[in-house]
Symmetry: C3
Subunit: 343 residues, 3 copies
């Protein structure tokens, strides 16, 4: 009734950050998040079942658990095969689920489509949740606490979807207590996959509204799977639009992946609107078995204007123009080689 | 030899705190504590067995673990079927075990018999362990670290009991390093269940003594189980006496629960002695299976004098008369609807 | 494919620290570290296998987990039975592995050979990593984060060995981000066991070099196993040399252990060079089964000069000559009685 599982994924990474030099590191979860999962499901009869799910990131390079421990998911749900599921707890925001499904790199590693999900680099995120460590780790563009959800059942002619609302409990979204609501709606049939989603945060900084919107289209041509998607963050006058084009090509026991990611920011001034960036990513995953794989990724991130995004794992950068390690307009390149095992 | 188990329990809660307004929240463990348990037992032959037990709360609404991680129990024990068990580690105080066995709500949720277990509301607790976050989470009225215990074997004509002593290790009880000792003694036969217990803390604030005493009587009349119990906390001139009357009525696949809880405080002044409170609770638990249940609870807490107890999960309250959110003498009401699954 | 295991080990301890008096405590892991282990191995065919290993200390006396959670090990590895293993993650330093294999007390408890591994007592450790809590818990003489390792295969005529390099990632060794490299080489055949190892930290305090060197010889005469080993820490002008002589005697279902440990410090002044200490340890372990044991240890630690080492678990000591609890030159004695169960 209870299943213990998870993943261990470690890689060595080399990142060069423009004229700031380069750094080597060992990183966790560049292909699949290192994690511990404990879950169970019970058939209650009459089409009804109950299940729980605990899922927590392992930062396997240092051996640390994340905070909160079950940061990825902690839910209980009651499912009727015809009427769908009611679920409560900590869960993914629907926008991230759609966005992730369109990215050949699953939003992980140096080429992942969440590379621009930075409260330091994206002004919309930074203004809404704080350009600081709490805002970086707790902002509600991945998962949210205190959620109540309704999830559509399977077998609806290819449609899937969900509604979600979260209780802020008197706290702030930048500290992990998000008052929000949203939905996702998708359709998958044959070679096609469509998805759209929105999550609105009602207690971002200054009790203002932050919106996170995603749409995506995937097409599997057999020799390759193509995807096109967009994720838009808006807070006040600031927006960051992430545009993604991805290709995934099966090659024997392996898989070749390519992606182009673009961040287009607009803000109150021309200077803020010029802070854009582009990421090119390429990767190869070689399956040693169904559960175990080796992989290599390469990526190049180019900033325009004063944009100061960087691939994680390089020398420390700053977006402050007067700082010694100011990174505005510079280029970050990275390479990583790793191994992943699901258990 | 090793068993992985636990519970996931989540609920939505609505609490109104007098004229301070109301708040919605998602909460963990209102019917059964959300927890992770790893335990094992080994038969050594000759009536001897050895076992260990690890049990840690999961704050499933946010996905967090508690601190310490195995906050509920971390013990090893050697048991002889005739001579009883020697046990060491972190374990429950005996008073809480007796108190819990008398409460239809198992001291959990908005109607639980530990609602007045607050270092902010009970002056005896606050003075002994500090009216602050450390005192609230670490005070030894639930569990204690560094315990050595002796537990009576089964088969003693219905009697059960235990002795416990804990090493303070040079720290203070309000910080979780309790120097204490205590016992519990019970008798159960047929419809009757009796219990008495005491735990004395010898290093409460100012190295003074704090005593926690519980007695209780339960009677199962078949159509309903009745219980009557009292828990008394004393520190210096301050006492808080919790009196409990509980009823639990089996109803088909469900169970109806009722409880009346009363906190009667006495202190150095008439004003302190007037700070009493009453809690009325009613609940219904509907079993979907042996392991899974839905439940609904309602509760009303009435403060007298300057007492400022509140049901957890409402707008923040204060017991300081000059504070904007002073709650003295006000009423707190709550409702919660949840689901629980054991695994 | 996934195995859940570990150990629970708790003991009661009594330590007297010279004229500072004595203290009782309950301690975790005096015979075998209390821990939780999750691991798995997968045969990939062709002599190749993949495996992961998660291992985290449980501080079972208080119920706490350590920080990081998987402090003992978090690795993934690809092994070829003929070419050896490539491994990444958090792992043991090779010096500790050799040192541990020579100690009858496995470097644990009051008589363990890591008693002098203290940033407060060993000036070489304190100067290199900081005489503070971070340096005490994070210094790289037990385990290191961000490691890449190569481990020799079995079947090399009794030889075993490994190479390790760790990425500092721009941090400092005293904060757990060690830039280091090292090796171990051993040989075991018949009654003999030899081992040598070195680990060099390149970013100790002031970006200076710290070296940790171990050699050891073990001989199993049948009626007893004897071991002789030395561990040398050097930073700038300060060195601490730990010399160990150990004996382990099988006695029926039990085992008698004896050890003599000596810390010989040298430094820039005669006073620093005079700060030496000696530890005498004796223990008996009685196996109740293959997995469960009772044990008793006694130890006496004698400081010379101004050395202020102490057995853990006694009244707080200080190495500062003007402190009220200055312990320089005093004697610490201890006794512990415990139980251990592997699961």
């Amino acid at each position: 009734q209870v299943t213990l599982g998870g993943t261990l994924d470690l890689a060595t990474r080399h990142v060069r950050n423009g004229d700031l030099g380069s750094m080597n590191s060992v990183v966790s979860g560049a292909n699949t998040t290192s994690k511990l999962v404990i879950r169970g499901r019970e058939d209650l009869g009459g089409g009804l079942s109950a299940g729980f799910f605990l899922d927590g990131t392992i930062l396997a390079d240092s051996g640390a658990a994340n905070s909160p421990f079950w940061d990825r998911r902690a839910t209980i749900g009651l499912t009727h095969q015809r009427y769908g599921e009611m679920r409560m707890g900590r869960d993914w925001v629907p926008t991230q689920l759609v966005w992730n499904s369109m990215d050949p790199f699953a939003t992980l590693g140096i080429a992942g489509a969440n590379t621009f999900r930075s409260v330091y680099g994206s002004r919309a995120l930074g203004q809404a949740f704080g350009s600081n460590a709490a805002g970086a780790s707790q902002n509600p563009t991945l998962r949210v606490a205190n959620a109540v959800e309704y999830i559509l059942p399977g077998g609806l002619g290819g449609f899937n979807g969900a509604l979600i609302a979260t209780a802020g409990e008197g706290g702030s979204a930048g500290a992990g207590q998000t008052k929000g609501d949203g939905f996702r709606l998708g359709w998958a049939q044959g070679a096609w996959q469509l998805g759209a989603s929105q999550f609105t945060v009602r207690n971002a900084a200054a009790e203002e509204r932050f919106t996170d919107r995603v749409w995506g289209v995937g097409y599997d041509a057999g020799f390759a799977r193509f995807s096109l998607a967009q994720r838009r963050w808006a807070y006040g006058s600031d927006t960051t639009v992430n545009s993604l084009f991805g290709v995934s090509v099966p090659m024997g026991a392996g898989q070749l992946k390519l992606s182009v990611l673009r961040a287009d920011q607009t803000g109150a001034t021309d200077a803020l609107s010029a802070n854009d960036a582009t990421l090119l990513g390429v990767g190869y995953v070689y399956a040693l078995s169904k559960r175990t794989a080796l992989y290599a990724h390469a990526a190049r991130l180019s900033n325009q204007g004063g944009a100061s995004f960087a691939i994680a794992g390089g020398p420390a950068t700053s977006g402050v123009a007067t700082a010694a390690n100011y990174f505005g307009g510079q280029r970050s390149t990275g390479f990583e080689l790793g191994m992943r095992q699901d258990f």
